[in-house]
Assembly symmetry: none
Homo-oligomer: 215 residues x 4
DNA sequence: AATGAATGAGTATTCATTCAT
DNA sequence: TATGAATGAATACTCATTCAT
């Protein structure tokens, strides 16, 4: 019974987030009225405020939730005990699927971000979360790259950490682009970009051309 | 006289945009009050509305301005009559400088973007501008890549258009990241990512390793 | 058993009134939340409503309680079977003590009074109580005065009822003053005012009785 | 022209205070809606807030205004250059008229007081004003009494300051009583109380002057 | 063209009160 | 009887925008 009580709360919370997402997509963050969110979630306005401190808090939770959803997609696809090539390939493939699944929702995401970032306290919370989230992802990818370097299949003269940030930037950049120009940011684009990027990492079979500095 | 009048207007417009930028950075888009923008720009609220239809119109102009500022940086650095290698190298170097110059201002940029995107009419204007802007940049870069392919220095089996979008995504992604985590999105990061990317484009001096599919 | 039950109820009621008083002093009537009153009284919000119809009902009870506390102070001090001079003297001395005991609490009292008086139904209840309470007190004092007149020690040409109201007004006036200016409304002030008032009552055709200081 | 501008403001302010008074009397302070005050004052809600920071600020101003109205009544009636007996008599007569004029409005007064006193900042402003106001009145009356003492017509052994506070308390007390029981707090009551009070002040070693009725 | 006083639409939030357990 | 989660009415206040001067 205490179990079901606790679950009732979690279920309600999820219903509210779901409703906020739907209303937000329909009316935009500014245009969303708490009244409508509450009614769609089948709770009263008062109950809304038992779960979220304010409208902005609610939409901040929406953002964070969507990031963690993306993380779940990647985690499911990547077996940490598999060999590194498989892991890296799986990770990139999963990130491609993240683009497909989150892309259409990015407009709301950026809206909420804009509203929330206007307030110092919220900005700190949001930025802190994003910093931590991206850092953690970066470390995972960098580890894959380093294993490739140790295996002699990736050039040893590149900074794994920096390139991992590059991988993440590619994904973020396409998510951004997908927001307003879905045709220019398909999973095909992302895949091809990843391929080129990884190819650029590959240890040259032949000695590198003299003077090749890449840019 | 009409000239000087016109210039007075342009000067005022610039002063207003400048003021909006400063107030926006200080208070966020939602928190910025037209009153304060007006007073900082040393015009009356009424005058604000002679130059911009609404608050959102003003901040939309702010966004567009920042994109065009980026464009100016690149255009100055790239001589269209120079050889393509020089042009590509110059372009990437200039984009790196764009990251440095716009990075600190991206928070306001994304805020404004998010807020403005909430209204259908504005979303259309903003997204249309962004689509056009990015497409045009993509075409320029793709042209450089194609010249490299014609010269036999870039792999012929890659889609120049798609990879150009990749270059742009790298920049966008780092600009995004710089918003909340400047240390993870320095010009060093961008440069290294560009290098790897271009290296991945390079025509293999040796025959490509069998089974190399990049990812 | 019904006795102890009833007593439990009385104890709870008293605890609630006590809590309302404390919370009210701390936050003001408007700022006091039933939640906090309940928690301080160690009962649930629901229980609060078994004892008091509403928040305003609760604070109305607080006011009435403070009047009855004042009455208790006087009643203890005045022996109805003692001679009238002693009775009057005791009454005035007791009223002085009322000022000392209630003075510090008058701010909440007037706050509650003001808030409660805003609603017609409550105004009627409050005003009715105050009217009855003050009338009863007036009659008691008037009776003392009339005995003094019958004894020839008080001027016969004054209206005892009216002067009794004056005595009461003096107390009320100082209680009011004490709310915002305790230093100007000490028991010393009240005593001196009472003395002057009673001296003004004294029958003067004959030389004043030696040692008559009025109170 | 600048004059009329300035007057427009003063006129509007007065109209708003007037409207607040009327709406407050009709609905109570809590029940009064700013919307209704604005419409009655024939200004917009926005304009209301150009003159008063908040609803509470507005009703605080109402209280202060009513005190100053009372002061005006007294000032008009008292010629500072007239002999002290006349001055004191005039003052007491004027205070009686204050009771008549403010009595019916005291309920609103206490309501506003209650609401306003709940907030620390406002409490300080209100209490400070009341303290200053009553002190100033006390000093004026005390001066009259001291002249009476110097003239040998008032007992020299009483503290003029304290008795002045008594006079003021009598008025306050009757104003309070008038709020809920107008029949027990008429100007007749106040007059008789003043008379008795002044008679108690009279120097009694000598036989009372014939026709001395105190006020 | 410029001003800035006036307007008024629009809604997040609170918290007294209820009632299912 | 007691509880405290859920309800939802009710409104002060802001500030983008307008327009008379």
């Amino acid at each position: 019974m205490s179990d079901s009580r606790g679950n009732f709360g979690a279920v309600k919370r999820a219903r509210i987030l779901q409703a906020a997402l739907r209303v937000g997509e329909l009316r935009g963050v500014d245009g969303a009225r708490m009244e409508e969110v509450a009614s769609l979630a089948q709770v009263s306005k008062g109950t809304l405020y038992r779960f979220f401190e304010s409208k902005h808090d609610l939409f901040l939770a929406t953002i964070i939730e969507s990031y963690q959803e993306g993380l779940r997609i990647v985690d499911i696809a990547v077996d940490p005990d598999s060999p590194w090539q498989q892991r890296l390939r799986g990770r990139l493939a999963a990130l491609t699927r993240v683009l497909e699944s989150l892309g259409p929702r990015m407009s709301l995401h950026f809206q909420a971000w804009g509203v929330v970032a206007g307030e110092p306290g919220f900005q700190e919370r949001l930025y802190g979360f994003l910093r931590d989230f991206h850092s953690a992802r970066g470390l995972e990818i960098a580890e894959d790259i380093r294993e490739g370097q140790r295996a002699g299949e990736f050039r040893a003269d590149v900074d794994a950490g920096r390139l991992a940030e590059g991988i993440i930037a590619l994904l973020s950049g396409f998510l951004y682009r997908a927001t307003f120009d879905p045709d220019a940011a398909t999973s095909g684009h992302l895949q091809e970009a990843f391929s080129t990027f990884v190819r650029g990492l590959a240890s040259d079979p032949a000695p590198p051309a003299p003077g090749d500095d890449g840019a």
